[in-house]
């Protein structure tokens, strides 16, 4: 039963008014996800922007903001407790975290929970930096991006870690032989929500990694957030695919990929490299290689 815009619930599970910046992908994502999962959803939230912007009664479902690195462990306790009490089937259990809470400080607790086969849907909203603390780099910050801890200076040009070494969370999680893992982007809501629906059918852990542009962090205009996310996919910077019981499948095929510069241009965090043709060429090669590597595995 593929999700359709027409059949998407009218019910809102977030109250109007929240603390997010204009154009924030995360709150948009949570709103849509809860439409799919429904009112019997328990939400566990790492420390980060999402926990702050949902303050003061924004969610209409039970919402538990925990510590920065322990959301998957707290969710494990909820999962096991509900099973022990014989009422696990009544609820959906959603864990949301940023890239810092997921790929960096919370990776061990997430890995442990997945290895134990805990039953939850984990969604990482990847804004490629620690935005709640003002935009420091994370394990998913792309090469060359300017963040507050990878500044541009006379001897430094933003994030120095090479593109190939950036944490690939979908593959890290897939290496646990998880039943369902997927990447998605806020610019493709039907792709995203279809995956949420699939994840909700899984008994056991499922993981969705969502590309989530952040206007202040990336230097993208609020009204261009969706555009930036779409361009990430159309250039191949972000590949939308899923891994279902070990089978990889590209969910959004891009017949003619746009040049990577189109995506970079939209973001002030890459402004300092836009004139460097050689570097842009190198980045283009990296994108091409990434695309080919994934295609070869699908």
């Amino acid at each position: 039963m593929a999700i359709k815009l027409k059949t998407l619930s009218d019910q809102e599970h977030l109250c109007q008014g929240n603390l997010a910046c204009a154009g924030c992908s995360q709150i948009l994502g949570l709103r849509q996800v809860l439409k799919v999962l429904g009112e019997n959803t328990l939400v566990v939230n790492t420390t980060g922007c999402m926990a702050v912007i949902t303050q003061m009664g924004v969610p209409k479902v039970p919402h538990f903001h925990v510590l920065f690195e322990n959301a998957a462990a707290v969710a494990s306790g909820i999962d096991d407790a509900l099973k022990q009490q014989g009422r696990r089937d009544q609820y959906k259990l959603l864990v949301v975290g940023g890239d810092g809470g997921t790929a960096d400080i919370g990776l061990a607790s997430l890995s442990g929970a997945i290895e134990r086969g805990q039953d939850f849907i984990y969604i990482c909203f990847d804004n490629e930096s620690y935005m709640n603390t003002g935009g420091q780099r994370s394990g998913t910050t792309p090469f060359a991006a300017r963040t507050s801890t990878t500044p541009v200076g006379t001897v430094s040009r933003g994030e120095a870690r090479l593109p190939a070494l950036r944490k690939n969370m979908v593959e890290i999680i897939a290496a646990h032989n998880i039943p369902y893992a997927a990447s998605t982007a806020i610019g493709y809501p039907m792709d995203f929500l279809g995956k949420v629906e699939k994840a909700a059918q899984v008994r056991g852990p499922s993981y969705i990694h969502c590309h989530a542009p952040c206007p202040p962090g990336w230097g993208v205009d609020s009204e261009l957030v969706i555009e930036a996310s779409k361009l990430a996919v159309q250039t191949g910077a972000v590949l939308l695919y899923e891994i279902e019981n070990g089978e990889r499948r590209i969910t959004k095929k891009v017949s003619k990929r746009k040049p990577i510069a189109d995506y970079l241009k939209l973001q002030a965090r890459f402004r300092h490299i836009l004139d460097d043709e050689k570097l842009i060429e190198q980045l283009q090669r990296e994108v091409d290689a990434g695309f080919e590597a994934l295609t070869a595995r699908c």
């Binding site: 009112e39 019997n40 959803t41 328990l42 566990v44 926990a51 702050v52 949902t54 303050q55 003061m56 009664g57 969610p59 209409k60 479902v61 039970p62 919402h63 538990f64 903001h65 925990v66 510590l67 690195e69 322990n70 998957a72 462990a73 707290v74 969710a75 494990s76 306790g77 909820i78 999962d79 096991d80 407790a81 509900l82 099973k83 022990q84 009490q85 609820y91 061990a108 607790s109 890995s111 442990g112 929970a113 290895e115 134990r116």
Partner: protein
């Protein structure tokens, strides 16, 4: 129930089994590990209907207990030493969330140097985490205190987590006779965890948990948490009385062994207080005026009961099996605080003993009494069993 022969870890595990704990999450660390292994066996044998969350760290162990707690389950964890330190962040979280989690701690010192033996460093550095802390001197006491801990933590007037601490190896691995309660008696003592109401995650009544609180209201919240912990003293006292009815075994926040008029009083927590008691009894036979006061509950700190128990003493020796580096032992300051306003204020001296599992013998106690004879000489902290530049004298006195 008939008398059993259990070690300390088994006594804790048996109390957990009889308390019908529903979710257990713990991570192995010596000397606590057996507790969780015993529990795993009870679950495997169908003797305990609980789920074990086999977590990848202590941080996650306590986090999983928090998860289970917010949907209403009775939860248990166990740890010590490095594990407890890794949990520390979550300990404050658990008390702030008012989760009645119970944790058994087989006390062990902190690295480095590497050392797996008993002292109270691990629980005492977490003394301000908002947990009840109960200390024990025997295996029977471990069993009894575990039941008291669940009953008190879950009392709606308290709703705070609790630690039952017992010295690693000295109690965790030593077997002693224990007389447990019948299951039906435990069931009466400890009602279902869902018998009382507390805020839980429930879509029928959606609420937000763990949210921000701005400065205007923050002190009010903290005051409530603090008051609940202070008030836990009355609840613990009630539970001690209830347990005495059922078992004939009497406990109190502060316990004196004899002679309320003794001139010299030895004060402290944990298994070393048995040695102190034994030594004091011998000394009394020789006509000396020495008594022992055991502090059973360190948090909440029973200020008035401590003052009352020590008010007739001329000299109080506070034994600390721990050291607050750069200051004194961590039990000592609270005792001084309790006595500061006493009508008759005794001399209070601090003795750092038995660190890293060093045996506390009759000699250690006698040596401490010897050092205390001269009273206060510009120095309040002594190291009777350490090889200092001048034996038994802390660095500050050398200057």
């Amino acid at each position: 129930m008939t008398r059993q022969f259990w070690n300390g870890n088994m006594a804790a595990a048996q109390a957990v089994r009889q308390s019908r704990v529903e979710v257990i999450a713990a991570y192995p660390i010596t000397p606590q590990t057996h507790t969780v292994e015993y529990l795993a066996q009870f679950v495997a044998d169908g003797e305990l209907d609980a789920r074990m969350v086999k977590v990848e760290s202590e941080h996650s162990a306590l986090s999983a207990c928090c998860g289970a707690s917010i949907v209403g389950s009775r939860t248990f964890t166990a740890s010590c030493s490095q594990g407890l330190q890794l949990m520390s962040e979550v300990m404050y979280f658990a008390s702030g969330m008012r989760f009645p989690i119970v944790m058994a701690v087989a006390n062990r010192t902190l690295s480095v140097p590497v050392n797996i033996w008993a002292d109270h460093q691990d629980t005492l550095v977490n003394r301000d985490a908002g947990w009840i802390q109960i200390y024990t001197r025997s295996v029977q006491e471990i069993y009894d205190m575990m039941l008291v801990a669940f009953a008190s933590a879950e009392d709606p007037r308290v709703n705070l987590p609790a630690i039952v601490a017992y010295d690693g190896f000295i109690l965790s691995h030593a077997s002693e006779p224990v007389t447990p309660l019948e299951q039906s008696v435990v069931d009466d003592f400890l009602p279902s965890p869902r018998a009382t109401e507390r805020p839980l995650m429930d879509p029928a009544k959606p609420q937000q948990f763990g949210e921000v609180l701005f400065p205007e209201w923050y002190p009010d919240f903290e005051y409530k948490k603090h008051s609940a912990l202070v008030g836990a003293a009355d609840v613990l006292t009630e539970r001690f009385a209830a347990l005495a009815e059922l078992s004939g075994r009497r406990y109190d926040l502060v316990e004196r062994d004899s002679d309320p008029g003794a001139k010299t009083v030895i004060f402290g927590i944990g298994s070393m207080m048995q040695t102190a008691r034994h030594t004091a009894a011998k000394l009394r036979e020789q006509g000396e005026s020495v008594a022992v006061v055991n502090l059973r509950v360190f948090r909440p700190f029973p200020e008035q009961a401590v003052a009352k128990a020590l008010q007739h003493a001329e000299t109080v020796l506070v034994l600390d099996r721990d050291i607050g580096y750069g200051s004194a032992g961590m039990v000592y300051p609270d005792v001084v605080r309790a006595l500061y306003h006493a009508e008759h204020r005794p001399t209070v001296l601090n003795f750092i003993v038995g660190l890293g599992g060093k045996d506390i013998t009759e000699q250690t106690i006698l040596r401490s009494l010897e050092l205390a004879k001269d009273g206060y000489r510009g120095q309040s902290v002594f190291w009777p069993d350490a090889r200092g530049p001048q034996e038994g004298i802390a660095p500050s006195a050398q200057r």
